[in-house]
């Protein structure tokens, strides 16, 4: 026994020494405070690391992980939200009708402490695009804030579940919904809209934390005065300089319905006092009807959260032709870059590149592919411009095969995680390509219309998902786990050297953060597209939580009972996952795990 113990102790000490050195790449301390055992924001911290400093569960004992308790959300639709833990309460937000549950972790089985029902409009279901998902609540200053599908933001007392305010931020009657998780910065709640499919113009709003009153609104298209572009705006590249580009980079008036919706993630750097968020794809036309760069869609803004004024903008996909919403997560890190200390922002983008940007200026430092690519060549670091492959550009009626990445991008909304211990970024993504062939007639609101037939399919290798560890500074993949189905779940990584993610078949997996070895897996009741979280319970022990319940775009064939005989259903996703119905069914259950 003693002989066995000694080397383990030695290893532990060695690990401590290693981690005590200043990490070569790490989130700024102001945006990633010391571990407090809680998980109050979907992204864990303002830097969006999704890293927990807890290490009770580690790479040697994770194999014994077992279910502590479960809880049904009562809604068998896509569960994309992150279970939050603050104090001794776990907060679980269900898809539409968006009921928020508070579970009391001090009692056996974590019974419901309270529930809050925002009573969204029933018609929201019919007019909402896609699945009726939510990407989660956020905790701040004793309150839970979240968005409802019918475009309201609510503030709820975290202790009692009493509604403090509920404000309408958008108009469900024009197809405007809110599915993103808000972020609270100082005295403002930041929210954005969805609905680009219906030609809804994108915006981000800052609501007063006390009353919900709108303090500023910044649109993603239109004149500078409405985009909140003023004297502070200093974009890095020439292509983003000029007056009213949000108008002039479109045909007349097309910006009014131009999309650029803000339905993804916001990060915040308290030192620079800048928020960072992406804008959705331009819409709703096919690209031939909107020549120009279509500013400020499919890009990223840095803004002052107090005033909303833009500092810089960078466009991932000028004149996007592939439905590549630029709304994915951005991880804020500090490191030495080519000999100089740099404040960077890392973005695994739809177009297939992991971008490293200087987050003070918006300069692209690096853009390296993490997905098999045929439609894009690279990023010109002088101009910042994405280099496209013209032969792969879709045109109405033209057959174009093997477009990679596909319309969902190399990775959709589901966020990656960063560990300062390994220095690696953990990216759950897809391996999908698509064919566009022939015209597809459809019918909506009494009107026949025509679009391209989109058929998604597995990329090289035949697998459709990948979980990859990425070396940010080298710009290369360190290891990857091939998954049969597209990966649509978020992920987290811990100081215990373990990363967690879920698959669309329902497997919840723990992998070694260093080697990528699968250390443990548990089959949940339905496919996982949610965001796992980990925290220390009131009993002092570490727990891991995730919602199981397939849906979203990729899982619509199950959540929406789509007919997989039509491979173009769900905008082509049915063709990518015709076998998903064979391996999973609908669900909506929280799973919480702990060591025995």
């Amino acid at each position: 026994m003693a002989r066995l113990l000694f080397p383990i102790l030695f290893l532990l000490i060695a690990a401590r020494i290693a981690s005590a050195q200043a990490p070569a790449i790490a989130p700024p301390p102001a945006a990633a405070p010391p571990e407090d055992g809680q998980w109050a924001l979907p992204a864990k911290d303002y830097a969006s690391t999704r890293f927990s400093g807890l290490d009770e569960i580690n790479s040697s004992n994770v194999k014994s992980l077992q279910v502590a308790f479960t809880f049904s959300t009562g809604v068998n639709r896509g569960q994309e939200s992150a279970p939050l833990m603050v104090g001794s309460t776990l907060y679980v937000l269900a898809p539409y009708p968006n009921i928020l549950y508070a579970l009391d972790l001090t009692k056996p089985g974590a019974p419901v402490k309270w529930r809050y029902d925002p009573k969204p409009e029933a018609s929201a279901q019919g007019v909402a695009c896609c699945d009726v998902v939510t990407r989660g609540p956020v905790f701040s200053q004793g309150r839970i804030f979240y968005n409802t599908l019918d475009a309201h933001t609510v503030a709820v007392d975290a202790e009692t579940g009493k509604e403090i305010w509920k404000v309408k931020v958008g108009n469900i009657n024009i197809g405007e919904t809110t599915t993103m998780a808000p972020l609270v910065v100082k005295d403002k709640v930041l929210v954005g809209n969805s609905g680009g499919e219906y030609g809804v113009r994108g915006w981000i709003k800052a609501l007063d934390i006390a009353s919900g009153a709108v303090r500023w609104t910044a649109y993603s298209t239109g004149p500078d005065s409405e985009v909140l572009i003023g004297p502070d705006f200093k974009p890095f590249y020439d292509s983003d300089r000029g007056k009213d580009l949000g108008v002039t980079s479109w045909p007349p008036d097309a910006w009014r319905q131009g999309g650029g919706n803000v339905w993804g993630w916001i990060s915040y750097d308290p030192e620079l006092n800048l928020i960072y968020y992406g804008t959705g794809n331009p819409g709703p036309w096919n690209h031939e009807a909107r020549p120009g760069d279509n500013k400020w869609t499919a890009g990223i803004f840095a803004r002052n959260p107090d005033t909303g004024q833009a500092r810089w903008f960078y466009q991932w996909s000028p004149h996007d032709v592939y439905d590549h919403d630029g709304i994915n997560e951005q991880i804020l890190l500090d490191t030495e870059w080519e000999g100089k200390p740099r404040k960077i922002l890392v973005r695994p983008e739809r177009n297939g590149f992991v971008y490293v940007l200087d987050r003070e200026t918006g300069e692209v430092l690096s853009a390296k592919p993490y997905h098999y690519l045929t439609a894009v060549k690279g990023v010109d670091l002088k101009t910042g411009r994405l280099e496209m492959v013209p032969e792969k550009e879709p045109h109405t009626g033209k057959v174009v095969r093997d477009i990679c990445p596909n319309a969902s991008g190399a990775k959709d909304w589901n966020p990656s995680a960063f560990s300062p211990r390994t220095g690696l970024l953990y990216i759950p993504h897809v391996n999908l390509c698509m064919d566009m062939e022939g015209l597809d007639t459809s019918y909506i609101a009494g009107t026949p219309y025509v679009g391209m037939n989109v058929r998604m399919k597995a990329g090289p290798g035949g697998h459709r998902g990948e979980y990859s560890a990425w070396d940010i500074k080298q710009g290369r993949e360190v290891w990857t786990i091939k998954e049969p189905f597209p990966l649509w779940s978020g992920t987290l990584v811990t100081a215990g050297g373990v990363a967690f993610y879920g698959t669309m078949e329902g497997w919840f997996k723990a992998v070694d953060a260093q080697s990528g070895a699968v250390l443990w897996q548990f089959k949940t009741g339905s496919g996982i597209i949610g965001q796992p979280t980990t925290w220390r319970g009131p009993d002092g022990h570490q727990y891991v939580a995730v919602l199981s319940g397939v849906g979203g775009w990729a899982g619509a064939v199950v959540a929406g009972d789509l007919d997989t005989r039509d491979p173009t259903a769900a905008l082509g996703f049915a063709g990518a996952v015709p076998d998903l119905k064979d391996v999973t069914t609908k669900g909506g259950t929280l799973y919480v795990f702990r060591l025995p």
């Binding site: 036309w285 009626g397 019918y443 026949p448």
Partner: protein
């Protein structure tokens, strides 16, 4: 013996009772989409559904759902209702009957302007303000939008959401109101929209079917519209097919009353 007799009696009574149960015709429809349907049942699809229900000796029941992405999935194919009164023939995801009307996209203009536009190749289209409807759905458009774009007509296009503001009545009528107001000079819209508007505003609107009827590389401008049932619903399929035939004249009269422009030549319809 006694109980067996009672059971037989009960079964017989059930059999006898069956024909007396009122049959239901469960229709899936949009509650706010004139001229097609609305919750007050003022649309032509409402009127036709009523005729079919009468012919089938059925009571008309509605499931109201916005006709947007997911409509068929959430209504017909979710089993909430059994009949969608208007879908293009051969639409996937359901079974369609023989068509009961064929219509076309039209150039609608103000009569007083005397523009007389009939073709996508009319040079006037390059300088007039041309209104079209925005479908949304990521790059899907009405066929005229594709045809106009192909001819480089882009900058003078104005898009009107097909869904409009659903909080108001007749949300899709915005484009016709814009034409009447003078915001645009031409509206290129699906026949029933223009026809209905013209019917309600006599003398205001001039209409002409777009040409060519099939724009290269195979873009249809005319569509045959049928009724849709679930793929496996053979019984209702047969009943609706039969009722559409026997009620032919009444249906035509309803379409006339709503000013639905029709083309008759089957060959012209793409499907």
């Amino acid at each position: 013996m006694c109980s067996a007799f009672l059971r037989a009696m009960a079964a017989a009574m059930l059999l006898l009772a069956t024909p007396a149960w009122p049959r239901e015709l469960r229709v899936c429809a949009d509650p706010n989409n004139l001229p097609f349907s609305n919750q007050q049942q003022q649309g032509f699809e409402n009127a036709i559904a009523a005729v079919l229900a009468e012919a089938l000796h059925a009571e008309l029941e509605y499931t109201w759902w916005a006709e947007r992405r997911g409509f068929i999935r959430n209504t017909l194919n979710a089993g909430r209702c059994d009949l969608i009164p208007g879908v293009p023939v051969k639409l996937e995801r359901l079974r369609t009957t023989e068509p009961y009307y064929r219509s076309t996209y039209l150039f609608a203009t103000r009569s007083k302007d005397g523009l007389d536009i009939a073709s996508f190749d009319d040079p006037q289209l390059a300088r007039l303000k041309v209104g079209v409807q925005i479908v949304g759905d990521d790059g899907a458009n009405t066929p005229p939008v594709h045809a106009l774009n192909r001819r480089g007509i882009v900058d003078n296009l104005r898009g009107y959401s097909l869904y409009g503001d659903y909080g108001r009545p007749d949300p899709a009528a915005a484009i016709m109101d814009a034409l009447a107001r003078g915001d645009i000079d031409v509206a290129v819209v699906w026949g029933p929209f223009a026809g209905w508007y013209a019917k309600r505003h006599p003398g205001l609107i001039a209409m002409h079917p777009v040409s060519p009827a099939v724009d290269p590389p195979g873009l249809p401008m005319t569509f045959a519209i049928a009724m849709g049932v679930r793929k496996d619903d053979d019984a209702l399929y047969r009943d609706i097919e039969a009722a559409l035939q026997t009620q032919r004249r009444r249906i035509e009269a309803i379409l006339d009353r709503f000013g639905v422009p029709r083309i008759d030549a089957v060959a012209e319809a793409v499907h």
